[in-house]
């Protein structure tokens, strides 16, 4: 699996937007189905941060927690989450042009 936010300098902290992008990328690259434990590990977040971000993404309707084969809980991207990921690079360019 490719490293996420690979264009960053060493020791540079990820911004909130970059973390969100990383989480969504991990889900997308795992065929849109991933367990919470694996998602937390691959997105390089502490348990507390992971809970906070996933809670936010769920409330914004970008990811959803659903049952896989009636047993395990898995996360998958919603249509809004997919659109966000598609437009992320453009959005970053937009913010950069305005210095925001």
């Amino acid at each position: 699996m490719e490293p996420y936010s690979s264009d960053m300098k060493p020791f540079q902290k990820r911004s909130r937007l970059e973390i969100i992008q990383d989480i969504l990328k991990v889900i997308r690259d795992s065929n849109n189905i991933i367990s919470p434990t694996k998602l937390q590990r691959l997105s390089n977040l502490s348990y507390q941060m992971f809970e906070e971000y996933l809670g936010e993404l769920e409330s914004k309707g970008m990811v959803e927690l659903k049952q896989y084969k009636g047993k395990r809980n898995v996360y998958s991207l919603t249509q809004k989450g997919k659109q966000f990921l598609d437009k992320y690079e453009d959005f970053v360019s937009f913010l950069r042009e305005f210095g925001l």
Binding site: R16, E52, D90, F94, E97, F98, G99, L100
Partner: protein, 260 residues
């Protein structure tokens, strides 16, 4: 009865002062300002509308402050527009129109001032957001940060007023220049915090910087007198208008790209 007499004298005096102020302004100036404020209201609210569309899709906190900035600029200019309209009506010099101006002038000025204050706080929040977003996790801390910026902007205004009263306009302008440099450093740190090391020369960014300069440096026309003061004041309004147009152009371009 004494109170009634006092009120009558006061209102008579107030009416005289208002009619003097109305007489000193020419109709062409009032109409020019009316046109300018109407344009600013339209542009600011258009920026707000377009930014709201992008925000509803990306939900980035820094962008929320950016859109609120233009909502408050629009509202502030709307109050100034209403004040200008009342001023124009008062040109007819009827007792009712002069009364209306006397009653509405101070509340409208206060409302416009509050909206400009909120606009400045939101503008500061939007440009410093990237720098602080990592440290302000909880909603409560975000709220505290906003309150801190409100306090800072309020103090800035108070210090400016006190310096201009006790030390004069030139010192007050020096103070504004100092604050402006401080804000430029803040913008720089904000850019550095996201790994941006090159200078941004993009017109939309420069448009935002221009708006910043005009908002925080203030109008320097009180330093001058006569025709040059009027000229500076008009140039100030014109530059604000240019900044709005540049920003609106950028927002429209990006809303087309992001929302299709």
């Amino acid at each position: 009865m004494t109170a009634g007499l006092f009120n009558a004298t006061l209102s008579e005096e107030l009416l005289n002062q208002v009619s003097e102020a109305v007489a000193s302004a020419s109709i062409s100036d009032i109409i020019f300002d009316l046109f300018l404020y109407a344009l600013m209201v339209g542009l600011a609210l258009q920026i707000f509308r377009e930014t709201s569309k992008i925000y509803s899709f990306m939900e980035y906190e820094g962008l929320r402050y950016f859109k609120n900035t233009f909502f408050f600029y629009g509202l502030a200019n709307f109050f100034l527009l209403v004040l200008d309209l009342v001023f124009l009506l008062a040109k007819s010099s009827t007792r009712a129109s002069l009364y209306m101006l006397a009653i509405s002038m101070i509340p409208l000025f206060i409302l416009a001032g509050i909206c400009f204050w909120f606009a400045k706080v939101n503008l500061l929040s939007s440009i410093s957001w990237k720098m602080v977003e990592g440290t302000l996790g909880k909603r409560f801390y975000k709220f505290l940060y906003f309150i801190f910026l409100m306090f800072l902007t309020m103090m800035d205004m108070l210090v400016y007023i006190l310096i201009s009263i006790f030390l004069g306009e030139y010192y007050a302008f020096g103070y504004k220049a100092f604050i402006f440099v401080f804000i430029l450093l803040l913008i720089r740190s904000n850019m550095r915090s996201c790994g941006e090391t090159k200078t941004i020369t993009h017109p939309y960014y420069l448009g935002l910087i221009l708006l910043f300069t005009l908002s925080f440096l203030g109008n320097i026309s009180p330093l001058l007198e006569g025709k040059s003061a009027e000229l500076i004041s008009s140039a100030f309004d014109l530059l604000t208008l240019i900044a709005y147009v540049i920003i609106l152009k950028g927002i429209r371009k990006w809303s087309r790209i992001l929302l299709t």
